[in-house]
């Protein structure tokens, strides 16, 4: 059994309420930790074509998988669309999660029933990503 820990801190001066949480990634309905990770990978997109970065057949559906992604760029204008879709990620794709601008990251639970597809807004952007699964 592996131990994978993920911590988040959301510091804001909008209010005095900042958030700090820690989790140990566990199998669904279990106290046992997730055993597997793809490692943290980098992918450079040489065009603006959509790419299925996480494919549904990499994990068992309906478990406690998690996906991390980060736009390692620094631009406040260029972004990645991220979608739960077999092959597309755009503004109106069903179901687009959102945009990752330069420096933005996300960590989500992943159902595993559909690919996670990413589309860069311009060519030559790089995505950092990792998959954690049972």
């Amino acid at each position: 059994m592996a131990t994978i820990t993920a911590n988040i801190t959301l510091n804001t001066d909008i209010t005095n309420h900042s958030i700090s949480e820690s989790m140990t990634m566990k199998k669904l309905g279990s106290t046992s930790g997730l055993d597997n990770a793809t490692g943290i990978a980098l992918k450079k997109f040489t065009s603006t074509s959509a790419v299925a970065v996480i494919e549904q057949d990499e994990v068992t559906d309906s478990k406690a998988s998690k996906v991390y992604m980060r736009n390692i760029g620094s631009s406040s204008e260029d972004f990645f669309y991220v979608a739960i879709n077999a092959s597309a990620a755009a503004a109106t794709t069903v179901e687009t999660i959102g945009r990752l601008y330069g420096g933005d990251w996300m960590l989500i639970p992943y159902e595993g029933a559909t690919n996670l597809t990413v589309t860069p807004s311009i060519a030559n952007m790089t995505l950092e990503y990792g998959l954690f699964y049972e």
């Binding site: 131990t3 959301l10 669309y81 639970p109 029933a113």
Partner: protein, 139 residues
């Protein structure tokens, strides 16, 4: 201008993973910080079925832009988890003690975030950071 910083670190000595990342949450296409935070606590039960936690229509006119969503399952019993959906699509299952953080597209008025408890009563904490807010019509 407000400043909101989201920081993550993921570590696993067993799997040789160590990363740290930080970002300032900004308005679309700009370096100006987001100015609105909507946060709260709640409980959802199995009997409730699927409940819309946040409606995409609250941000009409500013969809598909810079909105960020945080959710934490505050339970401690590992058999209590939340199924998180974007409209009709399951994002994933959030176990007791787990959290998630993601951008929120709100590409259409139906792109609400909903949660369903799978056992008993699940307490949760949520927060949304955004740049615009459309007030609903008075009744």
């Amino acid at each position: 201008m407000a400043t909101t910083t989201a920081t993550i670190d993921i570590t696993s000595a067993d799997l040789g993973i160590s990363l740290n990342a930080s970002t300032n949450l900004s308005k679309t296409g700009a370096s100006t910080g987001l100015e609105i935070m909507d946060a709260g606590y709640g409980e959802v039960t199995v009997a409730h079925g699927g409940k819309a936690l946040l409606e995409a229509s609250q941000v009409a006119g500013d969809r598909d832009t810079s909105n960020y969503f945080y959710l934490s399952n505050k339970e401690t019993d590992e058999t209590y988890y939340l199924i998180v959906k974007l409209h009709d699509t399951i994002v994933g299952r959030l176990s007791a003690g787990d959290w998630m953080f993601m951008p929120w597209n709100q590409g259409d008025a139906d792109a609400e975030i909903s949660i369903t408890a799978t056992n008993g009563t699940c307490a949760y904490e949520y927060a949304v950071f955004k740049s615009a807010y459309t007030l609903v019509d008075r009744t």
